[in-house]
């Protein structure tokens, strides 16, 4: 308290008086208990899923864009993707609208998928109101980096490079001011599968993001795949005994760190997905912005299990979900 007025002092003076007075009301204040309140972890605090999110969070988990496939001169697989940046207001929570900048009208942008060694051709068109670009993590020539080749509104650019190395990559706009362009929604995941493939699994893409809805440089909203509490509203069904694989990307702006924790289980962690041998066996992983990992685990017991950021604050601001492990099926 910066300033103490006579009336402030009055307020304080009264506590002693209440003691003197200790009539019914004073006594009841002392007894006030809030222990009885029960908050059910199933309760979705925000009123469920928004209608206008621009993505269906459940569908997004398993939506992969393999591009238009053709064969190149030397038999190389060529994949042509079409990405357009558009301004779009999305409803990230029921009733809460955010003026996003998007790739193909969705946040995160589509998950691009290919195999190591493929020739990638991304036909990018900027239909937004600001200059944008696409910057892919991975090996590529300097002129394909999306830093110096800014695409003005109405402009277009063809990004062409060979998909290397295999792993879980990230793409995002690299136009200054960078923070604003990323925070507004211009990012997505790119999976480069190893030539020999990975073991068969139930796969899910989870892009950890957030929204600074009042533009004060801090996030008010946290999520995986944009919609807070999406997988609490609609738990992700898993099969008992089946291998699950999460392609986990952290693009969270403003906060230094983000994390994933899964309940009642441990997972194999493949850092950046660049190795087929796990780096770690754990149940919680922390990640800075731009880091991404592949996570593999199997549930042997049925029931609902929570997963969330182990920054409790992020969890309660939206980055919280549930797996629903089906009791009947053993894969």
């Amino acid at each position: 308290m910066s300033r103490i007025s006579r009336r402030d002092a009055l307020k304080r003076g009264l506590f002693g008086l209440a003691g003197v007075a200790s009539v019914a009301s004073g006594a009841s204040v002392a007894k006030a208990s809030t222990l009885g309140t029960h908050v059910d972890p199933h309760t979705v605090m925000t009123g469920g899923l928004p209608a206008g999110a621009g993505i269906d969070p459940t569908a997004f988990l398993t939506n992969f864009d393999y591009g238009v496939v053709s064969k190149g001169a030397n038999g190389q697989t060529v994949r042509d993707y079409r990405i357009t940046s558009v301004d779009r207001t999305i409803e990230i929570m029921p009733g809460l609208f955010y003026a996003a900048w998007t790739f193909n009208g969705q946040v995160p942008g589509p998950t691009l998928r290919c195999t190591e060694g493929d020739l990638i051709r991304v036909h990018f068109t900027n239909a937004g109101t600001h200059p944008h670009s696409m910057h892919f993590h991975g090996f590529h020539p300097a002129g394909m980096d999306g830093v110096f080749e800014q695409v003005p509104p109405g402009g277009a650019f063809l990004y062409e490079f060979e998909a290397r190395p295999f792993g879980l990559q990230l793409y995002h706009c690299h136009t200054m001011p960078l923070k604003r362009h990323i925070a507004k929604g211009l990012y997505g995941a790119m999976i480069i599968d190893p030539k020999q493939g990975r073991p068969r699994a139930h796969e899910m893409v989870m892009v950890m993001n957030g929204f600074d809805v009042n533009f004060d440089g801090e996030n008010e909203v946290y999520a995986v795949n944009t919609v807070p509490f999406a997988y609490q509203s609609q738990p992700i069904p898993l099969k008992r005994g089946e291998l699950n694989r999460i392609y986990l990307v952290n693009v969270l702006e403003f906060d230094l760190i983000n994390s994933l924790h899964i309940h009642a289980n441990f997972f194999n962690l493949y850092r950046t997905g660049t190795s087929l041998v796990p780096h770690e066996f754990t149940d919680t992983v922390s990640m800075g912005q731009g880091e991404r990992h592949i996570v593999e685990f199997t549930y042997d017991r049925p029931g609902k299990f929570m997963f969330h950021a182990h920054q409790s604050e992020f969890a309660e601001l939206g980055w919280m979900g549930l797996f629903d492990v089906n009791p009947g099926e053993i894969a």
Partner: protein, 387 residues
């Protein structure tokens, strides 16, 4: 009735013009498609076990839709009545089941549909008293300690004042003026400060101007009426009326003070002990002295003294009741502004009364010292309550 036709002409034109603006869309050039300016104010918070209730006001130019509610940086379930969109100058209530912790602060953040956020801090969480017998008894006791008793004790200076000669009576009247000026400045400051917390469209500063000048004008116009109705200029009656006017001014001030106390107590912003209560009793006892100073040379009846004492002190109780039940920054601003205006008016009356009696010696060093002493006494006893 031709006159009224001319009176109505500009109004009719204004109505037509308004219709053109609203319906005609001629001002579409001015619309820029930007998000509306939003303003929400939390007027009042009520805490019951496991439950937070917010009264919110839309003081901005446009309707505001509350999309989500955060408590302590967590999105939280809630219900909102009558609906999520609050029209301009409209009100709504938000119910939040939340396990708040007694004695600890809590942060509430309202997120509107456009992503604008409005923060409200519950400084110290404590259960809001219920309006039952115990509530009224407790708050009456608070008012009794802070308002009624100190004023009553101050009245008991009357026999002492009676034993002073005229010069010192004038000194004590000057001292009363000093006390009152101090109270008026304090009330005005409080009114202006509260005005800053009033929802924008309700124009807190305008309310202060209305309150101060309104009460001043009212008392100026009607405070002296009985005198002319009676025809005679009975100096004893005039002095008694002055005492009642002072009591009224102090009473209005104490109403505002009681309001603030009641609100603070109800919201749990109360922490200290008996030392400060004693400080306040000393501080406010001077108010009683101010009431009896004008009638020191008379023999006011016990009934009149008691009435004047109640007029000055009892509003503290009423204010405390009100403050605990229905406090809002707007109500607080009105009370404080009205109190300030009333006191200033009384200072004016006091000045005239002494000027009539003292004539040339009005601004004698003794009287000037009296005013200064009044200010100093309030300042000095104020130190007792400034923790």
């Amino acid at each position: 009735m031709k006159r009224w036709g001319w009176f109505a002409l500009p109004l009719a034109l204004l109505a037509v013009l308004s219709l053109v603006v609203v319906k005609g869309g001629t001002l579409s050039r001015l619309a820029r498609g930007l998000p509306p300016v939003e303003e929400l104010t939390v007027d009042r918070v009520r805490l019951t076990p496991g439950h937070i209730t917010l009264d919110i006001v839309n003081g901005g130019p446009d309707p505001v839709t509350v999309a989500q509610v955060m408590v302590d940086e967590a999105f939280w379930m809630h219900t909102m009545t009558p609906e999520r969109t609050i029209p301009r100058l409209g009100r709504a209530q938000i119910e939040i089941p939340y396990p708040w912790v007694e004695g600890e602060p809590h942060q509430i953040k309202l997120v509107t549909a456009t992503g604008v956020t409005f923060d409200h801090e519950i400084a110290i969480a404590a259960e809001t008293p219920k309006a039952d017998g115990g509530y009224f008894a407790t708050f009456a006791l608070i008012g009794l300690y802070v308002g009624v008793l100190p004023v009553a004790i101050g009245l008991l200076w009357l026999p002492f004042l009676k034993r002073l000669d005229r010069r010192w009576i004038h000194f004590s009247l000057a001292l009363t003026a000093g006390l009152l000026v101090f109270l008026a400045v304090e009330a005005l400051h409080e009114a202006l400060e509260l005005a800053g917390r009033v929802a924008g469209a309700f124009q807190g500063i305008g309310v202060v101007a209305l309150g101060v000048l309104g009460s001043w004008l009212f008392l100026q116009a009607f405070g002296g009426r009985r005198k002319t109705a009676e025809g005679g200029d009975n100096p004893t009656a005039t002095r008694l009326r002055l005492a009642f006017l002072i009591a009224l001014g102090i009473g209005l001030h104490n109403l505002g003070e009681g309001l603030a106390i009641g609100a603070a107590y109800a919201q749990g912003a109360v922490t200290l002990g008996s030392f400060l209560i004693v400080g306040f009793m000393i501080h406010n006892t001077t108010e009683g002295l101010g009431i009896v100073a004008p009638v020191a040379q008379d023999n006011p009846s016990l009934k009149n003294l008691a009435l004047a004492g109640l007029l000055a002190g009892a509003p503290t109780i009423v204010g405390a009741w009100l403050g605990g039940l229905a406090y809002s920054p707007l109500l607080g601003t009105v009370c404080m502004a009205v109190g300030a205006g009333a006191i200033l008016q009384v200072v004016g009356v006091l000045y005239k009364a002494v000027a009539q009696e003292a004539g040339e010696t009005l601004w004698s060093p003794l009287n000037a010292m009296g005013v200064a002493a009044g200010l100093l006494i309030m300042y000095g006893t104020g130190l007792l309550v400034a923790a």
